[in-house]
C-alpha cells in the first residue's frame, strides 16, 4: 500500500499573529513553525498503518525551503521519503493541483492530510484533490482502518458521527482521535537526515485567488465584572444591554 501524507508548515498555535508591509505580508519574525496539528494526526495514522500492514509513507509539502524542518520531522516520525513542491502555497486549488499532479504520476492508495490547515482554515484541499483525481474525499475522519482494499472510517458530522466504508483509493481529511501524535525518537531523527527528499517544480497554474491585504480584529471592549452574589443581574444585562437573549 502506498500512502501520501500532505503536511503544512504553519505558525505554532500560540503565535500572536501580526502583519508587515502595510498589512500585506504575514510577519514571520520570531514565529515558530510547526507541522499542522491535524496533519500530524494524519501522519501518525499513516505510520501506524505502515507498521501494521506494511505500507510506504511519502510526505508531501507545497512550500519554500523554510518548510524543510517540518518535512524532516515528519521523516523522523516514520515517513519513508518526501516530496516538496518548491512554491508558496498560494491557495487551496493551487495546492490541490500540485498533489493531483504527483498522484497522477504515482498512484497512491490513500492520500491523507489534516481536515484543514490552521493558517487559512479552508478545509478544501482534500475535496478539490478528490475531484481532480475523480476519487472520493471524506472529512473530517476520526477513525480509519484498512481491510484489504476497503477503508472503514468514522466521520464527524454535526451533532454526531457516521461510519463509512469505501474502496481505495481515497482522499481523507483527518482529525483527532484518529491516532496519537508521535514524537520522533533519536534514531528517527538520525535516519531522517538521509531519507530522500525530492524537490520538484510546481505544475504550472496561475492562482485563482490572491490575498490583497490582511487585518487584525478590533480589540474587544473591556470586560464588565459582575459580583458573584449578584450573578442574576448578568441575565438582565444580556437582555437589556447586550440584547442577545
Amino acid at each position: 500500500m502506498k500512502i501520501l501524507v500532505c503536511v503544512t508548515s504553519v505558525p505554532d498555535t500560540t503565535t500572536k499573529i501580526t502583519f508587515t508591509d502595510n498589512n500585506t505580508k504575514f510577519n514571520k519574525a520570531g514565529v515558530q513553525f510547526i507541522t499542522g496539528p491535524y496533519d500530524d494526526y494524519a501522519l501518525a495514522r499513516a505510520v501506524e498503518l505502515k507498521e501494521k500492514l506494511g505500507a510506504s509513507v511519502t510526505v508531501f509539502n507545497v512550500g519554500e525551503a523554510d518548510a524543510e524542518p517540518v518535512i524532516r520531522k515528519c521523516l523522523a516520525i516514520g515517513a519513508d521519503d518526501a516530496i516538496r513542491v518548491n512554491a508558496e502555497p498560494i491557495d487551496a486549488y493551487f495546492v490541490a493541483e500540485q498533489i493531483a499532479a504527483v498522484a497522477k504520476e504515482t498512484p497512491y492508495d490513500l492520500i491523507l492530510m489534516g481536515r484543514e490547515s490552521i493558517d487559512y482554515n479552508g478545509g478544501q484541499v482534500h475535496g478539490i484533490v478528490g475531484e481532480l483525481l475523480g476519487i472520493p474525499s471524506i472529512s473530517p475522519v476520526m477513525k480509519l482502518d484498512i481491510d484489504g482494499t476497503t477503508a472503514k472510517m468514522t466521520r464527524e458530522i454535526e451533532g454526531g458521527k457516521e461510519d463509512i466504508e469505501a474502496q481505495l483509493p481515497l482522499v481523507l481529511g483527518c482529525q483527532e482521535p484518529i491516532a496519537e501524535w508521535k514524537i520522533p525518537n533519536m534514531r528517527g531523527i538520525m535516519t531522517a537526515r538521509t531519507k530522500p527528499l525530492k524537490i520538484v517544480q510546481p505544475a504550472g497554474q496561475d492562482s485563482l485567488t490572491t490575498v490583497a491585504s490582511y487585518e487584525l480584529p478590533a480589540p474587544r471592549g473591556s470586560v464588565k465584572m459582575i459580583p458573584a452574589d449578584e450573578a442574576e443581574t448578568l441575565i438582565t444585562l444580556l437582555r437589556t444591554e447586550a440584547k442577545v437573549i
Binding site: 475535496g127 484533490v129 458530522i157 485563482l208 485567488t209 464588565k224 458573584a228 450573578a231 447586550a242 437573549i245
Partner: protein, 321 residues
C-alpha cells in the same frame, strides 16, 4: 447569470444557516444586477421551498430524485454544478457546515472556481471581486481577490442578518444526471444527538471546562442551556477525558462557533480555546480564578464558583421566561 445558493434541508425544512445564505446570495445578486436562485436537494414540500422567496430567492431548483434523499456531498456537488451550468451562474453561495464545506471543495474542483472559505462579509465589487474571510482561526482577517470566472463563497454563521419579506419563490423540478461514481460511499451507521440544538447552528452556547470537576456535574450546564434554548459545548481537556463527546469540543482543533452569546464556565481560556470562540458576539466568562486569561477576552465576567453561579443564572432565566 443568476447567483446560485445551495440551501440545505434539515428534516424537510430550510436550515437557518441556509436562510442566511439565501439572503446573502440575494444581496450579492442585487449588487451584480441579477437574481438569486436557490438549489434545494432532497424531499421537501413545495410550500416550504417557496419560503426561500422570503429571504430573497426568486426561483428554487428542487432536485428530488430519491437517490438524493441520503445526504451525499459528492452527489450534491454534482447537482449544484449542473445547476450553475444551466443558470450560467458565476457566483455560488453556501453556508458553512460539514456538508457545505465538502460540497464547496468538490464544486471548486469541478468549476475551477475561486473559492473563499469562512466568508464574513458581503463582497466589495468596486475593484474586482474582493471578499473578507476569517483566517488563523479567527485571529485575523484576509481580503481575498477572487480572480477566476466562477466564484464560490462559503459563509460563516452570523455573516449577515436576514430580513424577511412576504415574497414567495417559484419552484421548478430539477433533474440533472448524477454519475454512479458519486454514490460509492457506504454509510453503515449514523449516531446523531436528537432533540438537542446543534452546536454549529446555535445562537446561544453554554460551554464548560475542567472547572466542572467531572461529567457527573454537567447537569447544571445542561439546565442553563435548556433554560436559554442554548447548545452545550466543552473545552478540549473535557473532550479528551471523555467527559463529553468530541462533537461538543470547541477550539482550535475542534468546532469553531460564532454564536450571539458564548457562556464559558470553568474554562481558563487557553489561546487554542479562544481561537474557536473569538468570533462570538458576546462572551461571558465564569471562573473562580480572577486571573484566568479568558476574562481578558470577555464582555462580561463573574469571578465565582460555577457550582453556585450556574444554578443562579438558570433561575434568573426561568424567572425571565
Amino acid at each position: 447569470m443568476s447567483v446560485l445558493i445551495f440551501a440545505e434541508l434539515d428534516e424537510g425544512k430550510l436550515k437557518k444557516s441556509s436562510q442566511e445564505a439565501i439572503f446573502y446570495g440575494s444581496k450579492v445578486a442585487g449588487m451584480l444586477g441579477t437574481s438569486a436562485t436557490a438549489v434545494v436537494i432532497g424531499a421537501a414540500d413545495q410550500n416550504e421551498l417557496a419560503t426561500a422567496g422570503r429571504f430573497g430567492a426568486t426561483k428554487v431548483l428542487h432536485a428530488a430524485d430519491a437517490k438524493l434523499n441520503e445526504v451525499n456531498g459528492m452527489a450534491y456537488a454534482s447537482v449544484v454544478a449542473a445547476a450553475a451550468q444551466q443558470e450560467g451562474a458565476k457566483v455560488v453561495v453556501l453556508a458553512k457546515s460539514s456538508l457545505g464545506d465538502a460540497m464547496a471543495a468538490r464544486l471548486a474542483g469541478k468549476l475551477k472556481a475561486g473559492l473563499a472559505p469562512n466568508v464574513i462579509d458581503l463582497p466589495d465589487l468596486s475593484n474586482g471581486f474582493r471578499v473578507k474571510t476569517s483566517i488563523y482561526t479567527g485571529k485575523a482577517f484576509a481580503y481575498n481577490e477572487l480572480k477566476a470566472d466562477v466564484k464560490i463563497l462559503a459563509i460563516k454563521k452570523n455573516t449577515i442578518a436576514p430580513e424577511e419579506t412576504d415574497a414567495t419563490a417559484s419552484v421548478e423540478a430539477f433533474t440533472p444526471t448524477v454519475a454512479d461514481s458519486d454514490f460509492v460511499l457506504k454509510v453503515t451507521n449514523t449516531e446523531k444527538a436528537t432533540g438537542d440544538i446543534l452546536l454549529p447552528e446555535a445562537d446561544l452556547v453554554v460551554s464548560a471546562g475542567r472547572g466542572l470537576k467531572g461529567p457527573e456535574n454537567w447537569g447544571i450546564v445542561e439546565d442553563l442551556a435548556k433554560a436559554l434554548h442554548a447548545a452545550t459545548a466543552c473545552s478540549k481537556p473535557v473532550s479528551d477525558l471523555d467527559w463529553r463527546p468530541h462533537h461538543e469540543h470547541v477550539g482550535q482543533t475542534g468546532i469553531k462557533v460564532s454564536p450571539n452569546l458564548y457562556i464559558a464556565a470553568g474554562i481558563s481560556g487557553a489561546i487554542q480555546h479562544l481561537a474557536g470562540v473569538n468570533s462570538s458576539k458576546v462572551i461571558v466568562v465564569i471562573n473562580k480564578d480572577p486571573d484566568a486569561p479568558f476574562f481578558k477576552s470577555a464582555d462580561y465576567g463573574i469571578v465565582g464558583d460555577v457550582f453556585e453561579v450556574l444554578p443562579k443564572l438558570t433561575k434568573a432565566v426561568q424567572a425571565l421566561n
